[in-house]
Amino acid sequence: MFRRIKKYLGLDNQEKDNGAIYTDTDEPLPRNIDKVKERLNTIFSECSDYIQRDIVCGEDNGICILVAYIDGFVDKKVLNQDVIRPILDYFSCTDKLHRAKSVYQLIKRCIISSNEIEEAQSMRQAVYRIVSGDAVLFINGSRIALAVGVKAPQGRQVEEPDTEVSLRGSREGFVENLSTNMVLIRKRIKNPNLKFEMLQLGTQTNTDICICYIKGIANDEIIEEVRRRILKIRSDAILDTGYIEQYITDNQFTLFPLVGNSEKCDKLVSKLLEGRIAILCDGTPYVLTVPSLLVEAIQTADDYYDHAFFASFMRLLRLLALFISTLLPALYVALVSFHHTVIPFKLIITLAASRQGIPFSPFIEAVLMIMAFELLREAGVRMPRTVGQALSIVGAIVLGEASVAAGIASNLMVIIVAITAICSFITPPLIRVTMLVRFIFLIIANFFGFLGISLTAVVVLIHLCRLRSFGIPYMTPFSPLTMADLKDSLILVPIWAMITRPKALFQGDTQNRAGIKRQEAAKISEDK
């Protein structure tokens, strides 16, 4: 639906276009430098960061070159050193006659010392090169412009991501710069099979998108599917991978994330090695991985670095946390308002005593407390970090205490909401899902007790079984049961025992292709 609206808006925009607004047309470059200048000035009118510089040199000032770039985008020192100085030096030193035709080849081959030179054959390409940070040289008399990559290093340094903290393993996280990110990946997989496919998306933003996979490990069909879905995107702007995620997800009407994302290099690399496909986008440190399965919510990068026993235990714990964070308040409400017969005698006395004098029904109480918690959480996220911490302390301690003392909430409810909250933080990818699902369960529990909860749980399970992420059933490896993949699900086997890659991600034969990991395994055992 949104796509339809967007398309509609997009059409509107195009209708409004007139001469003042630059449109993508394949107009050729004019041969005459003055015409180029004129055209560029209209295109970049009112762009104060657009700079153009004329170089006139050679015998009889016969050579006119126009250098166009965006201020601040290019490294001026490099531009002067590698581009302008050589040109000026060359043409002032030589006394040879230069005909216009050869100038272009000469400059390209002999003069400019920069490595990144590309040709721009049309106005569209030239403009694109300028706005993406290259310096573009227009040479009088030539129909081809030269784009020289003299981008100044931009953005922040590689640092540890806040969202995914790991105790062990690499602390490098992705940054906003696409090429830095690509380097970070390439650094870890030194193999020409690692492919980066570049695309531009967004009619206004022209954002660089990169599809990354390891050829021979990733499933070709899925790669093709990813390509198809990304190319289908018709959008003005791609500001974050989140935009792409919403376009390429299999099912728009699900709460569950069908596309994974990560900010950590080592995690992404391991996903690539499992046969997943990554989608990088310029301007955001978040990298998408597809296909994404439910089981990934309880996997962390640390697991693989640690001893398998601890990791397996932690995974079971995380699964438990997932259940607790979705079901606990609902179970409590069902227990307290429906199934008194189930509660053991001593507990029922405690429960009833704690409920004494509370004016609200357990359901209302639970909703109020959970709402309060969610508000606090949101406030804590939005606030500056230092204030956020203070806020969470105020919220957790003062509010909880006070609401119990005021007789609005029972002790037990505070405990339950606290446990629920803690558990919901354990599985970060599903944190928002569990929040909503928790409410659904809570509402149904208030009306139908355990029956409602179990029926809803079954419906949620059916929903999960229906979901597919790029053709792979979301609940793999549990259903359809893939025995070989269970080694990396709830129970994690030691890394040397993982001799095959996830079978679910292949349609074909895994044994033949399982080279890399197997070699790794062999290496480790050899080292030992």
Partner: protein, 386 residues
Amino acid sequence: MKISKLAILFMLSILLPGCWDNTDLTDINIVTALGIDKDEDGKIIVTVQVAEPAAVQLTSSTHGGGGGSAQIKPVYVKSYKGETIYDALISMKSIIDKRLFLSTTQVLILGERFCKDGINETLDYLHRDYQANYLADVLVARGATPEQILKIQPDMDTIPAMYIKGTAENTAIRAKVERKMLIELFKDIKNECRQATIGQITRLDDKTVKTEGTAVFMNGKLVGWLDQYQTRGYLFVTDKVKHTTVSCSVNNSKISVEIIQSSGKKNVIFKNGEPAKLSIQMRLEGNISEYIGKETLNSPEDIRIIEKKISQEVKKEINMALTKAQKDYSSDIFGFGELVHKYYPQYWKKVMDKWNDIFSRLPVDVWVDIKIRQTGLIKSPMKKDE
């Protein structure tokens, strides 16, 4: 789209009618004990003991301090008359504030008069109601009405029902009372091959009760009682003894033996298609837990003598119980009829109705074998060395 459709439907189906079975915990009365009796006119008197959770918590946390002067009582006891149990319970709503919640019933106390009139049919409600607690302990009140027993205010526990349950549990370990859960009582009632027995409870003063002895039923009617020793004999036969202490005297010294394992096997021996006699075989294992006397205790022969004495004691108790059941009450509480039913179904069909008479006429063979294993931390009894 499908999801939104389902969501609308869910909301519709939920919001239109409202919620039916949703009851807050604060809107129920937690019944801890239930007493059932009959008055002279044959009406049922139901007594409930209801716990006040807040007060229970308060008293148990400040137990012994006794600071608060105007404390709420942790439990209250109310009685009401009605035609049936359910009728009485429902009518009771006119004098209490909330719905009675029976699932927490820990103890069910039956009145003597009620039991004499027969319990087989009248307990139907407790079986039928979905909230009934099948694991509640059942006891028969002797010499007092259930109401009097439930109104005690014990020092040891804030909730009298828990106190009663505790005493029953304690005594059952000592094998001096038959501990019967409601479900087992129902099984007994339903099973025509054996007669029901229920533990007995008596009131000592307004703070204590005593659970000892057993009520014997015949076709659902209370016919008599077994005292504590007979009860133990009965429990030995039915193989329900866990730990108990048997005492006896040997040559002026007194010995207590703790039974650590007991297995009883009963049998009906048939001759010519007719039951000839009943046989009971007991295998016990025990440790000496006390020995007051002058003899030394260090040879296997000494142990042998004690074993013999103890086995005689056990045999005596079993015989007492058997005599009571056969001669006084002629009620097959041991379940010999079950054996006949299982292994001689043809014969059972013929004698089903008069089995209890046949049972009371049959001679009994009791065989007890006891092995004493350990003697505790010391071997010979405490005395001055000579």
